[in-house]
Amino acid sequence: MTLLDVKDLFVSYGPLVAVQGISFQVRKGQVVSLLGSNGAGKTTTLRAISGTISLVGGKVTGGSISFEGQEITKVPPHRRVRKGISLVPEGRKIFHRLTVYENLVVGGYTVKDFGDRLEFVYQLFPILKERRNQIAGSLSGGEQQMLAIARGLMSNPKLLLLDEPSLGLAPRVVDVLYDAISKINEEGTTVLVVEQHVKKALTHSHYIYVIQTGRIIASGEPEEVLSMDMVKAYLG
């Protein structure tokens, strides 16, 4: 079953067309990776799906985004969270001045079973439980990324969008994060992850799309896509 269906999507920032007619699907229960180099339009695509594109001066100018068979392009971003879409944004964007616990409270803003969700994310990242009263801005980079993911999971999403979760982190921390992502997926959450980290995408996703200057240039199973010469040349 298709959970997310992006069809012929165009996104612009004023005169700049950052996403030029891309189409892709995310099937329920899968981990799907969107790969591409700097400026390819990955973040723009995720912002279009989460709806926050309007907050950064961008606009969906064509195509459609359907979630669970429902067109959502016109739905305001905060309501998309209630529908089950959660984005862990590029650069983490944790609430620096709030404590770890308060960050999770805000993450669970839309849910009734806050206690259960808290239990779940504390189990996933026990370090956050230890640090719950610490000001989030004083966490290490890896801990901040864990907090960002935990916070994004508090709303109990059906689809978790991750924007370069491994960026700037030590390999050991990246391993921890990807183990957690696999675990989240095994518990039933569908994941769409944007990466430049090709190795992790290869081992942790069911399906891969490669995006270059706003267009999809390749797609398929991980081994198949990453063995294409064109993709190898592009992603290095």
């Binding site: 971003p77 905060h78 969270v81 984005l87 944004p89 609430f95 805000v106 994004g152």
Partner: protein
């Protein structure tokens, strides 16, 4: 020689002034934190709040009903102003909101001038706040004690609201990072509405205290308190509640003591001293005492 009672008088005086500046500064800080808007119109909300109170009294209501009603009406007015004046400008340059807030100030002042005439109005204090306590040479008015206690209670209540309730924490989160808060399912417009309602309600209450302290109001009453509260908020570090309260204290203290202890011919420097403090603090700490550099994306 300066007597001990005189110093005590000054202490009470500065405490009272602190309370009112701090209450206004908190409102400005809440709005600034979320919208990055220095709301010049905030001082006018104090003045309008005082007029609302007089209006309800003249409709025959008693003071105990009139005060909450004037605060509620202040909240409604604040939210309405946000809806018509600021909301259409969101996402645009911050400067346009700032200029609009100046326009809103001028609009409110003149609207009151037309409706209620430019003449000062007597501000009738309720009976139970009219008394004076005397201990020998020293005297303190009930309204002064009321103002101080109410401010402390209100400040404690706000601290609880911002640290213990989901909406309060969400408001701080929105002030920290608006885009991220939207990603958590928070309706930013609703949070901004709550911020305006809260700030305007407190401003209306400050209007009641101000009127009660000085016995009269006129359409320009809100101007200087608005400017002082702005200075207090900036001195404390705009966006920080603790900072606003501390800034209000520094300002009220400096103002009263400088006027009280300097020779009478210097009392005209009162407002100048506030600006002097502002300049000195900003030279030493450009983001205020409790402020942090604001990162913009």
């Amino acid at each position: 020689m300066v007597s001990a009672t005189y110093i005590l008088d000054l202490f009470i005086g500065s405490f009272v002034l602190w309370s009112m500046y701090a209450l206004l500064a908190i409102g400005m800080s809440i709005i600034y934190g979320i919208l990055r808007l220095i709301n010049f119109a905030h001082g006018a909300m104090l003045m309008v709040g005082a007029y609302f109170y007089i209006m309800f009294l003249s409709m025959g209501l008693d003071p105990i009903t009139s005060l909450p009603l004037s605060m509620a009406l202040g909240a409604v007015l604040g939210v309405t102003i946000d809806f018509f004046a600021y909301r259409p400008l969101r996402g645009g340059p911050e400067l346009s909101m700032l200029i609009t807030s100046l326009g809103v100030y001028i609009f409110l002042e003149n609207l009151v001038r037309i409706i209620a005439t430019p003449q000062p109005r007597v501000f009738p204090l309720p009976e139970f706040l009219k008394g004076v306590y005397r201990y020998g040479d020293f005297s303190v008015r009930v309204i002064e004690i009321f103002t101080i206690v109410l401010t402390l209670v209100l400040f404690a209540a706000l601290v609880l609201f911002f640290t213990k309730t989901k909406v309060g924490i969400a408001m701080r989160a929105t002030a920290d990072d608006l885009e991220a808060s939207v990603l958590m399912g928070i309706d930013a417009n609703r949070i901004i509405m709550i911020a305006f309602a809260l700030a305007s309600m407190v401003a209306a209450l400050t209007g009641f205290l101000w009127g009660g302290m000085y016995g009269q109001v006129d359409p320009t009453t809100g101007f200087m308190p608005g400017v002082k509260a702005f200075i207090a908020a900036v001195v404390g570090g705009i966006g920080s509640l603790t900072g606003s309260v501390l800034g209000g204290y520094i300002l009220g203290y400096a103002e009263i003591y400088s006027v009280g202890l300097l020779p009478p011919e210097y009392s005209g420097l009162r407002d100048g001293i506030s600006f002097l403090i502002l300049i000195i603090i900003l030279l030493i700490r450009p983001y205020g005492l409790f402020g942090r550099e604001v990162e913009r994306v």
